[in-house]
Homo-oligomer: 398 residues x 2
Amino acid sequence: MISVADATGRILGAMRPTGTETVPLAAGWGRVLAAPIIARLNQPPGDVSAMDGYALRATDPGPWTVIGNAPAGHPFDGSVGENQAIRLFTGSLIPAGADAVAIQEDADRDGDRLTLREAPITGRHIRARGGDFATGDMLLSPGRTLSPRAIGLAAAANHPWLTVHRRPRIAILATGDEIALPGDPISAGGIVSSNAHALAALIAAAGADPVVLPIAIDTLDSIAGTADQLGGIDLLVTTGGASVGEHDLIQKALATRGFAPDFWKIAMRPGKPLIFGQLGATPVLGLPGNPVSALVCAILFLVPAIKRLSGLSDWHLPIARGILTRPLPANDHRADYMRSSLIASANGELSVTPHPRQDSSHLRVLAGSDALAIRAPNAAATAAGDGIDLIRLDQGLF
Amino acid sequence: MISVADATGRILGAMRPTGTETVPLAAGWGRVLAAPIIARLNQPPGDVSAMDGYALRATDPGPWTVIGNAPAGHPFDGSVGENQAIRLFTGSLIPAGADAVAIQEDADRDGDRLTLREAPITGRHIRARGGDFATGDMLLSPGRTLSPRAIGLAAAANHPWLTVHRRPRIAILATGDEIALPGDPISAGGIVSSNAHALAALIAAAGADPVVLPIAIDTLDSIAGTADQLGGIDLLVTTGGASVGEHDLIQKALATRGFAPDFWKIAMRPGKPLIFGQLGATPVLGLPGNPVSALVCAILFLVPAIKRLSGLSDWHLPIARGILTRPLPANDHRADYMRSSLIASANGELSVTPHPRQDSSHLRVLAGSDALAIRAPNAAATAAGDGIDLIRLDQGLF
């Protein structure tokens, strides 16, 4: 058995970022940028007004004569001379000759005649050309996820297209004579397949495209047959039928197609039996068959793997911190990921209550949990009030 | 001018949840459940083995004779008698007559003959029928967002279809003679439209479908024409052309179609000019034209509005807490949402540094920020080391 940290390192070390593609700006949200976004223009494009008001020369004595009107998008193409003013608006280009903007609230206007209650100040209320960014500025660097704000910045910099990493395509193979798809006939003692659908949702949430393969029955041929259709797949995730000893069959079946195992047991709970290895060019992550174990292992190992495949080279699971509401006994040699509920106090502190039923067969408990509370291998007994590390499940991704 | 809290209350009070639709389980992730998920079966379906091993009668003296094999999905249909055992696996149904499971690691087998190194204990390693959930149990209640774990639970409970709220459809109308779509010709002094694309991404991130309307020029007819095509739209978002005074034109144009304004100024920075009202049955949120103001207002008001439309009746923007790295002067009468960077310490504490450039024209600063640090109206001066409320921008949604 290897540690969670070792397993994470080995899995992530085997992930290569997907290739790149060109997508329209409007499809770029949530994708990982693969080429820099360089400003193609100045923003603002010239010196512009920051307010609604009048462009004029600050040192003129006034009163001023309004000689034109320049809404944004309709610049005044003449020049402003002594005691002349141009009516303009937020975003309007400052006309030639003018060096100040007097704001509307300080202005009294009678026909073309303008007087001011506050003396104008040179440069006041003018946003300088390129003040946000200038042509050639590097605005967004590769390797970052594009937020809505970043999409806005790329648009402002005049990029209708973006170069991003392909969304990874992750195949899911559920195996087991006992499992049926929801709504399909269920044999005696059979159960409904929940892993494939929960994993597909998790894969989509992590930014990849799931491919749910047909359920394989517990024969070497049925399982190995999937190995022959992995073209275009970036990662194969299996979830073991438990019928003949967890994972033995998966390993044996894939071995007939040249599977090279890396490791297959981890010192953690839930989820000891976890296979990782390589089937030709395709990495294979073999999750336990138990739904709780499968999902917890997927959160720990599959989500970070997808982030690496997506082009995020230093993504790690966010770890939060909380305060235990009850004592916990000393831990054994396996890291423990305890299904827990959270209550946030007014100052943001998180109270953590591990669920009394930590049995790994209780999917309902996992679905209702807010966090996984992490206990290190051989952790000493802890008291109520002690701090504990958390993987939050209540914030959208999981 | 009304307060941010008042504006939020008025906007959210006008939102009605969208209608419902039936979607396949696989399309349910991230949707808001509109009908309860009731268990359609017992999980596990009967008493099952929690381990690989042998089902037998705990009080028999042994040695045992293995009389059958029962992988998961292939239950043994006879009965277990004195000193008889059935080979089984995790998830296998416990055969009639047996009352204990002896685990494989404690068993020595020679042909059909089985001896045990540990005495079996009645009920040991058996998961009771319905231990996770029983037929008729309410597993997931309406009004919650379906996580990948919830999808797994609905699958396990044998639901191939889910009843969810329709994704809200949000129309975006950008106005202004000066704006052009990315890649399109730009007039003198013109700028590239960034608001519509950033808002479309934000709307998608919040779980709704954006409809980007063609840019309207600054005429009453051009803007009012959009009011005539709002069928099937749950909310209209405008972002003001700044050319003739922020929002005057939008209000005047929509008034020709019966727009009923609720309020149109908020005591906040960035983003004072914000319209809210009703155009027939369609609520209208008029955002400022300035990209930074538009996005900050959208985070504060549009995202919660979308969550309400989506069926989440008590969703609020998550507010985090951090520690200022530098002093801030007293605030004026407007709430301030300062673009800030965060650094998390090892214990999870967030250090907050407001950006020195808070000019609302700097989209690049907003795109590079990790959080909005919130200052209440008339807040007193604060010192480095003081706590401050935050809206985190670095966690995926924004």
